[in-house]
């Protein structure tokens, strides 16, 4: 059984993720004047079309490339000894300490606590009528998926086929798709948790929502 509380404590103790920036290939490294403690931004713009803050440049075969931050955060521990040096691929240049946001924390907890049942292919998904009726009447938690239970209808190019649930027994914690919308293959359809853990998970999520302090 998962200990969700412990997980939360763990996250609280180190409320960040350390991202190691490594060289993608060989080349001569030049840092662009960043110091430890500097804030950097991740990709921005509506379509993430603007690259993040430049961290360093890597020159190979007279081809200078920028290495940009992939997440926002604070720079720690720059490997300054590599300045103007030729390095191999996979060498750590610096570390970005990225503080977790509420959503990221919740996503992490749920990722560990839930079993996600994913869409096998891009299609429209519906619940079978009985389950749909149950959800409408009694909410998502009223459905208890079992392995082999026929739960979904996959509708593709107007051809409908049934889809059975495979995975551990439990109850539906969350539904991640809208009926009638296209879902890409690999995207989660439902998250299933053990019945006994339901109240615990809900409690933790509520606590994160209320208490988690986002840094920066």
């Amino acid at each position: 059984m998962l200990n969700v509380k412990e997980m939360l404590e763990e996250l609280k103790a180190s409320p960040y993720e350390e991202i190691e920036v490594v060289t993608p290939h060989t080349g001569v490294v030049q840092f662009v004047g960043l110091k430890a403690g500097d804030r950097v931004a991740g990709p921005g713009g509506k379509w993430n079309e603007k690259p993040g803050t430049t961290l360093a440049t890597l020159t190979r075969e007279k081809n200078k490339k920028n290495i940009c931050a992939t997440q926002k955060g604070v720079v720690t521990d720059i490997a300054a000894q590599f300045e103007d040096k030729f390095v191999e691929a996979g060498v750590r240049l610096l570390t970005i300490r990225h503080f977790l946001s509420k959503d990221e924390v919740i996503a992490r907890i749920l990722k560990k606590a839930l079993y996600l049942f994913c869409a096998p292919e891009r299609a429209k998904y519906y619940f079978v009528p009985e389950i749909d009726g149950k959800i409408k009447a009694g909410g998502e938690q009223s459905v208890k998926p079992r392995d082999g239970m026929e739960m979904f209808i996959v509708s593709r190019m107007k051809r409908e086929t049934p889809l059975a649930y495979t995975g551990p027994e439990g109850i539906i914690y969350a539904v991640y798709f809208q009926q009638g919308d296209n879902v890409d293959g690999g995207q989660p359809l439902i998250g299933v948790c053990q019945e006994s853990q339901l109240s615990l998970i809900q409690d933790v999520v509520n606590r994160v929502q209320g208490e988690w302090e986002e840094q920066d």
């Binding site: 290939h25 509506k46 379509w47 079309e49 190979r60 075969e61 007279k62 081809n63 490339k65």
Partner: protein, 747 residues
């Protein structure tokens, strides 16, 4: 009561004047303000009679000073007049100039595009005691005195498409079209039918529209204006402007796009662009100026509407007269009309006979063909010009003899022979089957060596396939010993490419994802169009600085020095696998591939050459940033001019094929490039009306990163296909065999 109203009117007049003159200090404006305030302060103490006298005096003073201020108007003041919410709008004109009208396809904001107003209107003409109601189609942008939903007269592509539809309706009904241009520019979205592509379609259709067209300009903002303004008579309101770009836009480009341009720079740009009615009349882009009251016409200037009515009637009469001729007495009277006779007193029926309709189109072509000829440097000697004229004449005779007379009989003869041959073959088939022979072997008829070539798997004895020799011209970029990163590396995982490989053998194509890196125009000239064996013509026509735009001579000289070209356009005749073709190339390094008077003239001459010699015409846009703004309206007029030449060529049965590369934007795409039925793009090119920055600025919405990519254009239906750079020659040759009209010589 009466005094109150008059005082209010005076205050309104003052606030209008202050709007027009902007933040500028002006003694007359200050005096008016002072006098009005003085009067308002003292008014409670005056008796009724005194009030009358004082207001009367003030009104006289206002009229006097408005007349004086009229003389001080700068071009930018005129722009402010035109954009003022109190400016006359199309609805006012429909109410006051026409006798009756029905709006079509719109009621305020309920319209496909509330900025585009289409109406069927009538003008009543007297013929003795009889009244004749002459129908016209009125099309124009409606600014609606500041109504938000009209979008300031900035028309979306579907609005222009609607306008085009009703122009064709007018053509079917054989009634004249009056267009009123009240637009700051087209709304730059690419959604189907696409801003650029729709304007191009409009121009193309208008070039051959067989009804009289009269355009009246108030605010003529570049492409948006051209979409409805290709007319037989172009009139302009005296306080209007007609320009290639808004003064703010010009200033933003002049001052470097990053920071907002200063007011002073905007004023200077307005001055330099020569946008006023007077300038445009002098340059020959409009036919007449309609005088407005001092400081611009507003909805209550009824005298102005009477004048406008006379002018549009006169203009329509003149167009009809030019196309089909009138009786001698009316023609005489018409000439007199110029001396002040009211055109409404002479009756002219506006529907044209079938012969006159063709004549009208030809006349329209000649009118636009003659425009902007002064705006370029023609460095040819008199001898060359004579020789060119003579050669042209001879080619015309040659075409007439070879293709029109000789070929006609040849076709008839070969058709007859073909029929006989087919008959005999059927006979042979029947005889063969009767005799019981198997005809399969003879029917296939594949030569022996071809059969072995087709069925052989490989030919190791001929050595390895050496691709280095594939390209005759190799880019100088391939001489650098370095690697290059593909822009798709992050998403597609492309490895770095070694420049000698990439720019040499790979022809600038990423070997992993197929991204096309830009290549020099020479690469295309030599590797696709065989420029080494081509015959270049009109190289002596060079770009000039017709408006004497400050500082532009230097920039132009620099561009000429750097590229070794006289203009951004190269025109030549070459052969594609034994088929002669005329090719025009827009070269991106020369001032961004912008099109001005010289480029327009070269294009038209190339198209005419292709028409006379019955050759296919390829237009390769190596990149174009639009119309050259420093040439002002001399540049923008190339849009209708070249499109008309294209229309004439396609109507004559030619093949006009457009190929886009790198970045092609604005004017050229919205006219002579976009009107082609066969538009192809080299992979990784961008095609559009306005760049992302301009879209963000004008619409307030930013567009996704690959908004203008060729693939987006293809899925929107703007282009007809995307070609790999390495296959261009093959694809172009295939196009020669599969596309185009009947008049090509090799058909």
């Amino acid at each position: 009561m009466d005094i109150d109203k008059r005082t209010q009117q005076l205050a309104a007049r003052l606030s209008y004047i202050r709007d027009i003159f902007g933040p500028r200090e002006n003694a007359s404006v200050a005096l008016l303000k002072h006098r009005l305030e003085e009067f308002l302060a003292a008014a409670p103490g005056y008796g009724m009679r005194e009030l009358q006298v004082q207001v009367g005096r003030l009104e006289e003073l206002f009229s006097l000073l408005e007349g004086k201020l009229e003389g001080e108007l700068s071009p930018m003041d005129r722009v402010r007049i035109v954009r003022h919410p109190q400016r006359v709008s199309l609805k006012d004109i429909l109410e006051n100039v026409y006798d009756n009208y029905t709006e079509i396809g719109g009621q305020d904001e309920w319209s496909i595009d509330p900025g585009m107003l289409i109406a069927r209107a009538t003008i009543a003409r007297r013929m003795g005691k009889k009244t004749v109601h002459q129908p016209v189609m009125v099309i124009g942008q409606e600014k609606g005195h500041g109504q938000e939903f009209r979008n300031g007269g900035s028309i979306k592509p579907w609005g222009n498409a609607n306008a085009l539809y009703y122009m064709r309706v007018a053509e079917t009904e054989n009634i004249p079209i009056h267009t009123y241009v009240f637009t700051p520019g087209a709304f730059p979205v690419e959604d189907y039918p696409g801003a650029a592509q729709q304007i191009a379609k409009n121009l193309y259709m208008m070039a051959g529209l067989k009804v009289p067209m009269v355009a009246v300009f108030s605010e003529g903002g570049s492409g948006g204006a051209e979409a409805i303004a290709l007319a037989d008579k172009r009139l302009m309101l005296s306080h209007g402007y007609y320009s290639v770009i808004s003064p703010e836009g010009a200033a933003a480009i002049e001052g470097g796009l990053k920071d907002k341009a200063t007011q002073e720079l905007i004023e200077r740009c307005a001055e330099r662009l020569k946008i006023t009615a007077e300038d445009n009349l002098r340059l020959g882009f409009i036919d007449r100026v309609i005088q407005e009251p001092p400081l611009g016409a507003r909805p209550d200037n009824y005298e102005f509407f009477r004048n406008l009515r006379r002018e549009v009637i006169r203009a329509t009469d003149e167009v009809v007269h030019g196309a089909q001729g009138l009786g001698p007495l009316r023609a005489l009277a018409m000439r007199r009309a110029k001396a002040g006779v009211d055109p409404q007193d002479i009756f002219v029926r506006w529907s044209l006979g079938s012969g006159a309709r063709d004549g009208l189109v030809a006349k329209r072509y000649d009118k636009f063909r003659a425009m902007s000829r002064h705006a370029l440097h023609d460095n040819r000697t008199m001898g060359t010009r004579l020789a060119v004229g003579l050669a042209r004449g001879l080619w015309q005779v040659h075409s007439l003899l070879r293709h029109d007379i000789f070929a006609k009989y040849k076709r008839r003869l070969s058709g007859l022979l073909e029929q006989w041959e087919a008959e005999l073959r059927v006979l042979g088939l029947g005889v063969g089957s009767l005799l019981g022979r198997d005809g399969a072997g003879t029917r296939l008829g594949v030569p022996k060596e071809a059969l072995s070539r087709l069925t052989r798997l490989s030919c190791p004895e001929e050595g390895a396939c050496r691709a280095e020799d594939a390209w005759g011209y190799v880019s100088p970029k391939s001489r650098e010993d370095r690697t290059v990163t593909c822009p798709n590396a992050a998403s597609h995982g492309c490895l770095d490419l070694w420049a000698p490989d990439l720019y040499g053998e790979f022809a600038g194509v990423c070997s992993h994802c197929g991204h096309h890196f830009p290549m020099e125009f020479q690469w295309y000239l030599y590797n696709v169009f065989d420029f080494a064996n081509a015959y270049e013509f009109n190289a002596e026509l060079e770009s000039g600085n017709p408006l004497h735009y400050e500082g532009f001579d230097l920039k132009l000289a620099e561009a000429k020095r750097a590229t070794g070209l006289g203009s951004s356009c190269i025109t030549f005749e070459t052969r594609m696998e034994d088929v002669a073709v005329v090719v025009a190339v827009l070269v991106s390094p020369f001032r961004g591939g912008t099109v001005g008077a010289a480029e327009g003239e070269k294009l038209i001459r190339a198209i005419e050459r292709a028409r006379i010699k019955r050759l296919p015409f390829f237009m390769y846009s190596h990149g174009t940033a639009g119309i050259r703004i420093q040439e002002g309206t001399c540049g923008v007029i190339q849009m209708p001019r070249v499109t008309m030449a294209v229309r004439r060529y396609i109507d004559a049965g030619g093949l006009y094929l457009v190929l886009y590369d790198t970045n092609s934007y604005a004017g050229p795409v919205a006219s002579f490039l976009g009107c082609s039925p066969y538009q192809f793009a080299v992979r990784s090119s961008n095609i559009g009306f306005a760049g992302p920055g301009v879209i963000r600025e004008t619409t307030g919405v930013s567009v996704p990163p690959k908004y203008h990519r060729a693939f987006s254009a293809l899925s929107r239906g703007h282009i007809q296909g995307i070609w790999d750079r390495r296959d261009l020659r093959k694809n172009l040759h295939q196009a020669l065999l599969t596309m185009g009209g009947s008049n090509l010589y090799y058909r």
